[in-house]
Symmetry: C2
Subunit: 337 residues, 2 copies
DNA sequence: TTCTTTTGCGCAATCGCTTGCTCTTTTTAG
DNA sequence: CTAAAAAGAGCAAGCGATTGCGCAAAAGAA
């Protein structure tokens, strides 16, 4: 489909205009559909660019319109295998709707709290909006973006409800799961989590507490540990729990759950006969375990899609909801039979 | 740090020039370091833009230089949990060096063979180069990029050695693993894989065959299955293997391995006492299994870094190697004791 | 038929930066 | 001390689109 003019350079709007004997404004209007143009001319131009495979230069367009049609997703450089599926599927969801709505997606992976990469992206005018892949307490990225007054939405909740956020209902889900466990006459349910200032982990913990409250039961705080920052700590905590007449261990996520399962197995404790186990998130990673684990099921692709649609609506100047919560499913398997 | 001129609009090179009483070309030269400029003037400009937090508009720069400083990574919309870690870590590696070398990274997730999203990215002049996250036989993306004469490198091998590729030495790794198993007097090693036209799967299979050849042993082809496209097929194949006096099952990847492990466990077959099991790739997913699995260890982040460095060298006009193979590790664990 | 609207299209400015060229000033060489 | 060379900085023409404005032609109203 190379053009007759020859040379390897890509065709520009001038080439199209020249060969058609019209002005470049006419070509531009034909393509954008904006402005006054006769349908005959419009068709002539469109047919020509179709036949010659002409594509407007996106960079020039961006400059002229002060709009890039790019967004960026910020995700952590995670190392824990249970975190991969969440971010990956999220990313697929975002990309799906971004592409459908004419945007392309940058991804920036960041370790820790360094905003320089994100800052550069914005300073260089490379993106119109940003999706934050996860949220921390007093989130440094959210604070930065807000201070810049830059359009963004977070996946994960935030204390600051002036920022647009999309999230699974982690608290509600965890509450429901706990309630179901309680309804099975399990009373001494241990909770094992991390107080690592990820908001999702706060919410899950709150859900656990809420369920006890809703059922007018009192949680024995000696069954709660939130210091499972390392596998060693988790093993130690399991060890202690086993001395305390525990019915069930509810794990904040599959990473913790995995260690718990291994520890129980090394002690030949039968699940569910001697101990029930549940996790607050099905990352699919534990599907490979020899027993199926009760857990919560969230739609990770959908949360990406939703966040992206909302961001795009924002960019289109539409009104958007302040906070969106997605549905969840409580999935009971063998581990809590 | 808002500028005194007021208004919310970002500072441009003109603002800097005006306030400094120099021309815009001088500002441009001070920043780029190219062209003739006195070090005094240069410092004056640099100090000013530092103090006023000025950043050149990347879009304008791209237009003027016909260079975007963007690359794109193409990855599949995988669903299998074992695939997430590979692509995710790869992505982190790419992003790490891209950022360090002044580039930003688009990610496009694609299902199947549809090149339109990639085509659009190129047609719109949004990227300078592309990294293909995986390769298939007769790869449609590679063919497309090559036909366009667009700079790209693949992660994963390709028959066409005119394309620049980076890969783990899958064949060599799998050969070594098999050889070690053979050295343990295991003779009837079954191979379970998929003939799904992913090149990596071809290579692993070849490695297995090669090991037998190197050791002057003959492989019993009735122990080889490459039709494990579904879990059901895999279970059926395991079932048949068990009637055939097999020493060890070598799985193409952790997805297959997972099913094999579950199947063996449901039949109460003890590992490694009654059966040895190994996998050709440690996705970390099986780390949650109750027994540790012998497998190959590849550095997924490093392959991303390498590919990105090579692509960037290409874009800089440097000479680059046609094919780069990374090291691997054979990790023996309990499952083949 | 004549005057007013509307429509279609081109001109040229603009977006913010890079860079070849020119002119002036300074430095170096002979 | 003078001529040639080098250095420093500005002018202006790009890069490839968009878009406000103006003019001529066509359509509608009186």
């Amino acid at each position: 489909m190379k053009d007759s003019i020859g040379g390897n350079k890509k065709m520009t709007i001038h080439d199209v205009a020249d060969q058609l004997g019209v002005s470049i404004s006419t070509v531009s209007r034909a393509i954008s559909g904006k402005g006054r143009i006769s349908s005959a001319t419009r068709k002539k131009v469109l047919d020509f660019i179709e036949a010659h495979d002409y594509h407007p230069n996106g960079i020039a367009k961006s400059l002229a319109q002060a709009k890039t049609n790019n967004i960026a997703m910020i995700i952590p450089e995670v190392k824990e295998v249970v975190a991969f599926p969440f971010f990956y599927m999220c990313m697929c969801g975002i990309n799906e709707v971004a592409q459908a709505r004419g945007y392309d997606m940058f991804v920036v992976t960041t370790s820790g709290k360094d905003t320089t990469r994100v800052k550069r992206l914005i300073d260089n005018n490379k993106v119109d909006g940003i999706i934050l892949g996860n949220t921390h307490k007093n989130d440094v990225f959210a604070r930065f973006l807000k201070s810049r007054n830059f359009p963004f939405v977070t996946i994960g909740s935030l204390e600051d409800d002036s920022v647009v956020q999309v999230d699974h209902d982690n608290k509600g889900a965890c509450r429901d799961l706990t309630t179901i466990l309680l309804s099975r006459k399990l009373r001494r349910i241990a909770y094992m989590g991390k107080a690592d200032n990820l908001i999702v982990n706060e919410e899950r913990y709150e859900g656990y507490l809420q369920a006890y409250k809703d059922n007018e039961l009192k949680v024995d705080m000696s069954l709660v540990s939130r210091d499972n920052m390392t596998d060693a700590m988790t093993r130690k905590n399991v060890d202690e729990l086993l001395k305390m007449n525990v019915d069930c261990i509810l794990c904040q996520d599959d990473a913790v759950c995995n260690v718990v399962l291994q520890e129980l197995r090394s002690r030949d404790i039968a699940i569910p006969e001697q101990m029930r186990v549940a996790s607050c998130h099905n990352s699919k990673v534990l599907d490979s375990y020899y027993i199926s684990i009760s857990s919560l099921k969230f739609d990770n692709t959908e949360i990406g899609r939703t966040a992206c649609n909302i961001l795009m609506d924002m960019l289109d100047g539409k009104e958007v909801p302040g906070k969106t919560q997605l549905d969840y499913e409580v999935v009971l398997k063998e581990s809590t039979k």
